[in-house]
Amino acid sequence: MKGLFIICGLGIFAMLAEIFKGFGLKKILQPVVLLGIVVAFVLNILTEWNNPMSISYFNNMIVFDNFALAFSGVILATAFFWFVFANDYFENSSDVTDHFALVLFALVGALMLTAYKNMTTLFLGIEIMSIPLYVLAASRKNDVKSNEAGFKYLILGSFATGFLLFGIALVYGATGSFDIMVIRAKISAAQGGLPLFFHAGVIMMLVAMCFKVAAAPFHFWTPDVYQGSPTVITAFMSTIVKTAAFTAFIRLFLVGFGGISEKWEMVMAAIIALSLVIANVTAVSQGSVKRMLAYSSISHAAFMLMGVLAVQPGMSIPGILYYTLAYSVGSITAFSVLYNVSKDSGEGFEGFNGLGKRNPVMAFCMAVAMLSLAGIPVTAGFFAKYFIFATIMATSFKWLLVLAVLTSAIGVYYYFKVIIAMYFKPADKTEKVPVEMQVMLIMIITTLLTIAIGVVPGYVIDMLGNSH
């Protein structure tokens, strides 16, 4: 909770920095935000980790238990890396402070989503996270593509919110409460005697959440929005927003509706199968790396959904935690390389030609990120997939496992297209792609992290061992 307050305060500070321009607050904005995120991270762990007292706020609407703190940790760590590599984008834009404030408030929404225990805070968290992102997606005012991305995101986002709210209303009608734990108790007490509209509500909430995490067939906005938005914002959407949305998903479906999993698991299995096939097959034919990463994020969403589908909190939650960490760290590396390369030579695959000779270190970081996203051993991505597969093995959905392995094989092809371009294709230019020192440092740190958590995966998995 203290972390949440600090991030809120930073957002307000960013807005004040615009008003008090004369005091030079704009210059120190980025260091202050980075420091604030570190303080939030440390305070969260020091004061609330494993602390049975004072974890519940506002009549149980927000509960910072270990589950919430672990996922907030992933989000805050990703946000730290993100703020370092996105600094360049902020410096070049005319309204730095607005962008900082919007991103920080989106972060507040993301942290709320990790800790909600009530459907009111679920709804508010999703909206606090989404509304700044609509603005950020459209933040290149004179670029029609950016406008289009923001508009599509807004329309489809509020459409999905409508479904979420209708679902919430129906669930409330059947159970008489917005509290996740009360709903859980009502479900187990009713023994299947709940009215039909309750199940309709659960399915509507499932559809809305699939919109938010971008799973097929509700993924249509993803490639367009990811491509049209500024690259740094795309990186934010595909890492932090996805992690937060999945945390919300787990809380809702594993904890809240876990008791009636037989009603929604077939729908979810169909969504996962569709996402795996559509995302991986479509990604192959993309000419732009950014669009390819958008489709890859859809297939990663399908993998994380498999963890939810298993409905075994003891295995699913650590598995998904590890997956979000591996995926976020890998994506941050990939997007920061892509951002720097695209400034120099565009977003297509040909922009990466000969990068292995031009910038050997950056090419190595990108290669490790691609290997991790493809799930090749020793990188974190391999164990992430492995834990999810182990979870789904214990259920009756083994056919999904076969499908997942087959489509991952297709995935290897398009991730390797980048690696082949970097190392085996001749470069059009010979001079280095210019990269700032601190961004280079972040790339190296995230790459090392990808390898490190791939070598000692047990550390992350056991972290949550005693929390439920």
Partner: protein, 111 residues
């Protein structure tokens, strides 16, 4: 006297009718979002969807004699207002760049 009559009429109406009414309103809104080409009408349809939810929540609130759903309605109203504010800002930006609010002009991103 009229007030009491009205109140008893509201309470004696079965809850299923409210569910039906808001489901119909919600469906009209959802169909409008998918079919209409004018961006302003699309926003209006999203609002219709949200108001269908508000109606349903208020009906359930009186059915359960529980005020929390009415508080939820206030949250929905506030958030819907924020969303429309952002939406209209983006829309005016699009109009400035493209001189149109027909969503068919928005096809610059390749499929």
């Amino acid at each position: 006297m009229r007030g009491i009559l009205l109140q008893s009429a509201i309470i004696s109406t079965p809850i299923e009718w409210y569910i039906m009414l808001s489901a119909v309103l919600f469906t009209i809104g959802a169909c409008g979002v998918m079919v209409k080409r004018n961006a302003i009408i699309i926003f209006a349809c999203v609002e219709l969807m949200l108001n269908a939810v508000n109606l349903l929540l208020v009906a359930f609130s009186s059915y359960h004699s529980d005020a929390s759903a009415q508080v939820f309605v206030f949250f929905i109203m506030a958030v819907a207002a924020a969303e429309v504010a952002v939406g209209l800002a983006i829309l005016s930006m699009i109009y400035r760049n493209l001189k149109s609010i027909d969503i068919n002009v928005l096809s610059k991103l390749k499929h």
